[in-house]
């Protein structure tokens, strides 16, 4: 038994919880899935205003991001050959199961939308697929936030009402960022990227403020803290470049916008990795588990052997 300066007692400072076993594939998917969802919405918007270049870029981005993300999801399984067991049951209490069904509908829509657009074949089917993908996109962008919130890990579970919003903001920023990098003249892409970054910065700080001190440290200290601050700096620097690029004429302005788009996208990626790493740190910290529960359980408990 050991007692810290805070009077909190633990079993030899060993974690109460298990650290998540997810490897880098999972935060990669959270990032790429969000990017795909944001891109599906951009594609529908581009169709609405008749911007063919943005529409194509967004569709192709959505397919590439979702394809890569899905490969990662399967690669992370302990038994990848059993990935289809995800669709054995329909289980509303499992966000991962709900997400699997969601992807089973969203994936084909994204694929048909992109292939139809690039080949020019089956345009009606392509339009239906584009709007179907856009309709499912908000759920795809946010369910992953619910997924991490529905765990015992204090840094995730404690932030359950903010997490889906943060993931949606990252989806907007990364989809806008990639589209701005590919089509620097597309104002809607730039605006989505800038709006996404603003929401990311605001929501990440809201997330941290919503947590008690002993849980918040997972996001602020050590390697995770550095990653999280680097993510914010990348996003803000990219926003500045995008904004600057849009007011400068010619090739230099376009280059600046492209670089800004890339920085915003990398910032959104770093943010997802920071969230997952914070969860790992939080699970490994017995004080983050015991502290809030002790304050909750409270009344009669007083240590008898200090």
């Amino acid at each position: 038994m050991s007692a810290g300066s805070d009077g909190l007692r633990t079993y030899y400072d060993r974690p109460v919880l298990k650290r998540p076993t997810w490897r880098f594939w999972i935060p990669s998917y959270f990032f790429l899935g969000g990017m795909a969802a944001g891109s599906s919405l951009l594609a529908a918007g581009a169709d609405a205003i008749g911007d063919a270049r943005l529409g194509r870029a967004a569709r192709v981005t959505a397919l590439a991001a979702l394809g890569g993300g899905t490969v990662g999801l399967i690669a992370d399984l302990g038994r990848p050959e059993r990935f289809h067991h995800m669709l054995r049951v329909f289980r509303p209490s499992s966000p991962m199961n709900m997400g699997s069904w969601l992807l089973a509908a969203y994936g084909p829509a994204v694929g048909v939308a992109a292939v139809s657009n690039v080949t020019g074949r089956a345009p009606v089917l392509g339009r239906i697929a584009t709007w179907s993908a856009a309709a499912l996109a908000p759920a795809v962008a946010t369910y992953t936030g619910v997924l991490v919130a529905d765990t015992a890990i204090p840094a995730w579970h404690g932030a359950r009402t903010v997490m889906p919003g943060l993931f949606a903001a990252g989806a907007a920023a990364s989809a806008g960022g990639v589209a701005a990098a590919v089509v620097p003249n597309a104002a809607p892409a730039r605006r989505l990227a800038l709006g996404g970054v603003a929401a990311e910065v605001a929501l990440f700080s809201a997330l941290e403020r919503s947590l008690p001190d002993d849980v918040r440290v997972a996001y602020t200290e050590g390697r995770v803290g550095r990653l999280r601050r680097a993510a914010t700096r990348l996003s803000l620097a990219g926003s500045g470049m995008c904004a600057g690029g849009s007011v400068r004429a010619g090739g230099a302005g376009r280059l600046l916008t492209r670089l800004g788009g890339v920085a915003i996208t990398l910032g959104a990626a770093a943010e997802r990795f920071a969230v997952i790493e914070a969860g790992r740190a939080s699970a490994g910290d017995p004080r983050a588990t015991i502290g809030p529960q002790r304050r909750n359980a409270a009344p009669e408990q007083t240590p008898e052997h200090a």
Binding site: L17, G78, R294
Partner: protein, 261 residues
């Protein structure tokens, strides 16, 4: 088959002598692989924690306690055999996306090894840090309360092997009554620190199929003081997702509102 009662474990830690017969019996009966020969330097505990390859774990706690009758402080030993709690509202079962984890006719929680695809969600969801993913095998494993032995009318291997009846197995209702009597008896004998842990249905997991008589706060034994099944709060997270999804659509619409460039 006649209607089965909910069965469970009552672990009375005041009777535990730290022999680890439960750990060994569990390993042998369930053919659980080795979990490493690590020297942890934590009293007599080189097992460390419950995991995919450890379904019973004996904790050893050495405490210096003031002894009113002696001039020098004394040492007291706390020993406790931890196990899966077989929660009424089991997080691992709730979040399992494949249906590999199910509730048995004995009201216990079991992983079907032929279904589990090793997604790892249960590992992050368990508020007790019980279930783990087995390296190389890739799947999630934990205590089954000896599902096979229960079918044969036998008690679980750990309870059978326990030489002091610290681990007691039986219908949960009976165990709870017995545990309350035991606490009363201990209080009468002056052991005022005796208390039950997870013995009631109105905690954050809706009651446990494995509960404990402890002599100190749960966290001293590495147990969470107020565990909550995360799915209890799932609706609030989905509501936040719905609001965020709507905001995302509004944001994209706004980005296109001012037309092109």
């Amino acid at each position: 088959m006649a209607e089965t009662q909910r069965v469970g474990f009552f672990t009375d830690t005041t009777l535990c002598i730290g022999c680890k017969a439960c750990e060994v019996a569990c390993k042998e009966w369930n053919d659980v692989p080795a979990d490493g020969f690590d020297f942890l330097g934590l009293s007599y505990d080189n097992t460390g924690e419950l995991s995919a390859d450890t379904w019973r774990h004996v904790a050893f706690i050495e405490q210096v306690v003031p002894d009113a009758s002696a001039s020098e402080p004394g040492l007291r030993w706390l020993m406790s055999s931890d196990v899966c709690k077989h929660c009424t509202h089991a997080a691992c079962l709730d979040v399992c996306p494949t249906g590999a984890i199910f509730r048995t006719e004995f009201d216990t929680v079991v992983v079907q090894a032929d279904v589990c695809n090793g997604c790892g969600y249960c590992v992050a969801a368990c508020p007790f840090g019980v279930i783990g993913q087995r390296e190389r095998d890739g799947r999630a494993w934990k205590c089954t309360m000896c599902y096979d032995r229960l079918h044969g009318g036998l008690e679980p291997a750990c309870a059978k092997a326990c030489p002091t009846a610290s681990i007691q197995f039986g219908p949960l209702d009976e165990l709870r009554l017995r545990a309350r009597d035991r606490v009363e008896e201990l209080h009468e004998r002056g052991v005022s620190s005796a208390r039950l842990y997870l013995d009631s249905d109105d905690d954050g997991i809706g009651g446990a199929g494995a509960f404990f008589l402890l002599l100190d706060e749960p966290e001293v034994y590495g147990l969470p003081p107020d565990p909550v099944v995360p799915t209890r709060d799932l609706a609030s997270a989905w509501r936040a997702a719905a609001a965020s999804g709507a905001a995302l659509v509004a944001g994209v619409a706004l980005a296109f509102m001012r037309g092109r460039r």
